[in-house]
């Protein structure tokens, strides 16, 4: 598995191509928590095109991981 690490002082994420499913997916692993998420092509395209404000919404700490609602915890 070819993987890249994208890191800053704030976060470290390993990025790799996962070929285990019926089609290719991008595998993202938050190296600080071990949390993994897969993204398929249409999801990636949508992220590429998402307006900045939507991305900012995702980065808001209370949007996923530190949300008050426990069921939001996986960011789904």
């Amino acid at each position: 598995m070819n993987q890249w690490i994208i890191a800053s002082e704030f976060a470290e994420v390993a990025v790799s191509l996962d070929l285990d499913a019926n089609g290719p997916r991008l595998r993202l692993e938050d190296l600080r928590s071990g949390h993994v998420r897969h993204l398929d092509a249409l999801e990636l395209e949508s992220i590429a095109w998402a307006p900045d404000e939507r991305l900012r919404e995702l980065i808001d700490p209370s949007a996923g991981r530190w949300s008050d609602r426990a069921d939001d915890a996986d960011g789904a």
Partner: protein, 414 residues
């Protein structure tokens, strides 16, 4: 004109028009294929969230998906906007599907997610048009079944005694699960689907049609269906039938059902013995079933077939190798045996396909009009569980098929 099925289907003969008549084929789609439980695939084909594969139920193009929360859905491959095909690839991974025509987008559970330029519909979230869903979906031993009828017998009721045969297949895996992950071959035959179904548990033809294969390979399969065989053909009810070869296998050593010996698959045998103790002997001796599950799932010991009608005289037979979860040593052999018998250059299916197609051409002749299914009727008996059984090469399975077929074709339409 309404067809009088009681005239065309008699206890010991069936009419040739059942294989050639367009109207009968159209009626079969409504009364069998879009009503009863039809096997479409296996959960192992969509192992990961976002996985999808395209399948067919007769002419219906179906997408089997697995959602994020693990649920398997069967969606119809038809956009809710103007009916375009939504998926083109045979398999892939995507949590959402976007129609290529105008971009309507759906979750892989079928729910609508959005559409482009939403002002034309008065804004976002104004439409709740989703992909069509197969009304009833259920699984048994991982096999996924579809029924286009909103009500009717449950899958368990439909499978009846055939369920036990699928259990017998699954218990061969040290983890109790089979997987259909070896990929599918599609064999197209210019023949009516019923010729294929009837052939699957016809123990009369192997010695004849497959004689050359058996003699070249030194296979013992032929003798399992000879006149001296103690194997039986069983009508399992509900149109299901099997060639029960266990009486012959019980005279042999463990793993002989698979044409091999314990010494060649030592890890597998050791694993099964550790897991099942004394009961392992029975499992390793009796092996896998040879069962035709009405109307389209055929398990031939090492191979799984899903039969799909295309036209009155055309059928696609999808074939794959059984894979036993947790048994890599067996899986390599299962795959190579499957390829040898029913692969692209496989010897058994090539023989059978030739017969299906010749049969289809033959039955178009106007006389003698009938196909005979009486073989062994006089020596049929009832076993200790109340099932009708005949000799290994009797037509007991076909008679069971036809009586169930007749009940579906004659009964109240749904």
């Amino acid at each position: 004109m309404t067809v009088q099925y009681s005239e065309l289907i008699q206890p010991e003969r069936v009419h040739g028009s059942l294989y050639t008549d367009q109207d009968i084929f159209a009626e079969e789609l409504q009364r069998i294929w879009y009503r009863t439980w039809v096997c479409v695939g296996h959960v192992s084909e969509v192992a990961r969230p976002g996985d999808y594969v395209r399948k067919k139920v007769a002419s219906q193009d179906v997408i089997m998906t697995r959602s994020k929360d693990g649920e398997v859905s069967l969606l119809l491959n038809r956009c809710a906007h103007r009916g375009n095909l939504v998926c083109e690839d045979q398999r892939g991974n995507s949590s959402t599907f976007r129609c290529p025509y105008h971009g309507w987008t759906y979750r892989n559970t079928g729910e609508m997610l959005g559409y482009p330029y939403n002002q034309g519909y008065g804004g976002k979230g104004k439409l709740s048009l989703g992909l069509g869903r197969v009304p009833r979906v259920d699984t048994y031993q991982g096999f996924v079944f579809a029924s286009f009828a909103a009500d009717g017998p449950s899958l368990k009721e439909h499978l009846g005694a055939a369920a036990g045969e699928l259990d017998r297949l699954a218990r061969l895996s040290p983890e109790g699960e089979i997987e259909l992950t070896a990929g599918w071959l599609q064999h197209r035959a210019k023949a009516n689907w019923k010729l294929l179904v009837e052939n699957e548990t016809d123990g009369y033809h192997p010695q004849f049609v497959h004689g050359s294969v058996f003699s070249v390979t030194g296979s013992h399969i032929g003798t399992l269906y000879s006149d001296k065989s103690t194997a039986v053909t069983r009508d399992l009810g509900g149109g299901h039938s099997e060639n029960d070869l266990r009486p012959e296998f019980r005279k042999m050593e463990p793993m002989n059902w698979f044409g091999t010996s314990e010494a060649r698959v030592p890890d597998y045998v050791a694993k099964m013995r550790a897991l099942h103790g004394e009961q392992a002997e029975e499992i390793l001796i009796e092996g896998a079933p040879h069962v035709m599950v009405f109307p389209n799932l055929f398990v031939a010991e090492i191979s799984v077939f899903m039969i799909n009608p295309v036209a009155v005289d055309e059928t696609v037979q999808n074939v794959t190798a059984v894979q036993l979860k947790g048994a890599p040593e067996m899986n390599r052999r299962l795959l190579s045996q499957c390829i040898g018998s029913v692969g692209p250059a496989g010897m058994l299916l090539a023989d059978d396909s030739e017969m299906y197609e010749r049969n289809q051409r033959g039955v178009t002749a106007r006389v003698p009009e009938w196909l005979d299914i009486r073989r062994g009727a006089h020596r049929e008996r009832v076993d200790e569980n109340g099932f009708r059984i005949g000799a290994a090469n009797d037509e007991t399975g076909m008679r069971g098929f036809w009586s169930h077929y007749r009940s579906l074709m004659e009964g109240e339409a749904q």
